[in-house]
């Protein structure tokens, strides 16, 4: 598998250095590891920390900046960051108002963030966390780890970030993050696998005529493998699952048609064309649409669709100013 990298062991570090150099007025890297924080720390607001494995660029470091995150921790590719790194991020951004961590629902992420938050609390830092679990591909039952956190996480960053920027309390910011989590749903698919730099070969095999429905953002196998079909039919399958899960009819929604890293924008626009037709037909009103690579799986070809039900509060926060490398508003 060809990759544009130097040494495998330096992938995460060099990537974070490059990200920070792309926005030196906005971002700063902590010396202790692959942690990105705002160049100018803002006091008097709840600080938001997100993170996870690398390989999801622009998540999560790309969402650090005004109106979104205060810090982001990057683990090794597809591997949760370690508690000491998360703790350093929390410590660097902490204010008197406290720190809210935004954690995606993966066993490792939750354990590492919990350990870091315990360490921060021992130091007298007010810290709490929310768990994002927007992926409807996974059955949320006693028999699984529960739904994964995927592209909907970006909207949690956006909306909780907007409220935090206004100076709301930790409890209020946590409540609005949980409101987004309750109202956002995502499902994805892939037509090719992705290759972790350290592994050097694809995480799974897909034949030329096959696709994986319900893929996660780590190249972990999805829920079913099917013969490839036209983009509209795939999008319809995903949208059916999403709109079956919670009731979107008559509601206003924000839409993300998210690329998994290796999907041409041309194809994402083709999907978006169908998404709009589908939602119109269903009586679901589109408030805003984002099309692009927001939460990726290295070079995987595929896409996910995210819908967020909006009310007046969420709309106003969605529209609030954001100035980050990967999302501006």
């Amino acid at each position: 598998m060809k990759k544009l990298i130097n040494e495998v062991v330096n992938v995460e570090e060099e990537m974070i250095l490059g990200l920070v150099k792309s926005a030196p007025d906005k971002l700063r890297k902590l010396d202790c590891g692959t942690v990105v924080v705002r160049a100018n720390k803002k006091e008097g607001k709840v600080a938001l920390v997100s993170g996870g494995g690398s390989g999801h660029e622009p998540a999560h470091g790309g969402y650090v900046g005004e109106g979104m995150l205060d810090g982001a921790v990057a683990g090794a590719v597809f591997t949760s960051p370690t508690p000491d790194q998360i703790y350093e991020a929390i410590k660097a951004v902490a204010t008197d108002k406290g720190v809210l961590c935004i954690v995606k629902n993966y066993t490792g992420d939750i354990m590492n963030f919990e350990m870091a938050i315990d360490m921060a609390k021992d130091e007298g830092i007010k810290a709490d966390y929310v768990v994002v679990n927007d992926d409807v591909a996974v059955k949320d039952s006693l028999y699984t780890t529960g739904r994964r956190g995927v592209a909907g996480t970006v909207l949690v960053h956006k909306i909780a970030g907007a409220l935090a920027e206004k100076g709301a309390s930790l409890e209020e910011v946590k409540a609005v993050a949980e409101k987004v989590i309750a109202n956002v749903r995502t499902m994805g698919m892939a037509i090719t696998a992705c290759t972790m730099p350290a592994a050097g070969k694809p995480g799974f095999e897909l034949a030329d005529n096959e696709m994986e429905i319900g893929i996660g953002i780590h190249g972990e196998p999805g829920t079913s493998r099917e013969a490839l079909k036209p983009a509209n039919a795939i999008a319809e399958e995903l949208l059916n699952k999403i709109t079956d899960d919670i009731d979107f009819v008559g509601k206003e929604v924000a839409v993300i048609v998210n690329g998994m890293g290796g999907t041409p924008l041309m194809e994402l626009y083709i999907v978006n064309n169908f998404v709009h037709d589908y939602l119109d037909k269903k009586g679901i009103k589109i408030y805003d649409t984002m099309v692009g690579n927001y939460m990726t799986s290295i070079e995987m070809a595929g896409f996910s669709i995210t819908l967020l039900r909006l009310d007046d509060e969420l709309k106003s926060l969605y529209n609030a100013k954001a100035d980050t490398p990967a999302l501006k508003r």
């Binding site: 494995g53 683990g75 090794a76 590719v77 597809f78 591997t79 949760s80 960051p81 370690t82 508690p83 000491d84 790194q85 993966y106 066993t107 490792g108 354990m111 590492n112 350990m115 591909a137 996974v138 059955k139 028999y143 699984t144 780890t145 994964r148 972790m196 350290a198 592994a199 995480g203 799974f204 996660g216 780590h218 190249g219 972990e220 196998p221 999805g222 829920t223």
Partner: protein, 201 residues
């Protein structure tokens, strides 16, 4: 203890591609690489630990794993070694009863941090039967090596057992029934550790 940990590190390094391959089949394919990275970091610290008590050595091992492995294996194995270390604090020798106590504490730490139990296709499916066999042997008055040999066999059977069950914890749980037939990488690495311990006492 330092020699045992070095031997475990060598074993993990030797099997890292295989562990990664097992992980790839049902989850995200990083278990071998990350464990090898963590134990490399442990080995780098071990020489400075010469002369320290077993508890301190295990505690340092645990903290190093937590801060270098990442994923879920980092906090799980890290917590296990730290808990075992706390149990053996101040000791310079380890008898059968000590090993039973340390393994019990380690398993307790894994269950607490991972909120898992046996039958969920995790490292516990190797460790818990091994613990039961070890405890039974030690309590029946067997010497450590005999009891541990039975424990290693029980762990090996536990690894085989993971092929027959569905994952309900961790990333492998997302694929539901499709995880059946695959061997759990965490149970496999836990088996390697016990096997290496047996070969080096």
């Amino acid at each position: 203890m330092i020699d045992i940990l070095k031997a475990i590190a060598a074993k993990i390094d030797e099997e890292k591609d295989y562990l990664t391959e097992l992980d790839n089949e049902i989850a995200d394919g990083d278990h071998g690489v990350n464990m090898a990275k963590g134990f490399d970091a442990v080995v780098a610290k071990l020489d400075a630990m010469a002369g320290k008590d077993i508890g301190s050595i295990l505690k340092t091992t645990g903290m190093t794993l937590v801060s270098t492995v990442g994923g879920s294996a980092g906090p799980l194995y890290g917590t296990a070694f730290m808990k075992a270390g706390a149990k053996l604090a101040g000791k310079n020798e380890m008898d059968g009863k000590d090993l039973v106590d340390a393994l019990e504490a380690a398993i307790g730490g894994i269950q607490m941090r991972g909120k898992a139990t046996t039958g969920e296709k995790t490292m516990l499916d190797a460790l818990c039967p091994a613990f039961d066999a070890l405890k039974e042997g030690i309590e029946a008055g067997e010497d450590l090596k005999d009891a541990l040999a039975k424990a290693v066999k029980a762990a090996e059977d536990g690894v085989e057992y993971t092929k027959t069950i569905k994952a309900t914890k961790g990333r492998a749980s997302y694929i539901g029934d499709r995880s059946i037939g695959h061997q759990d990488p965490g149970a496999t690495s836990a088996f390697y550790m016990l096997e290496t311990l047996l070969a080096n006492i």
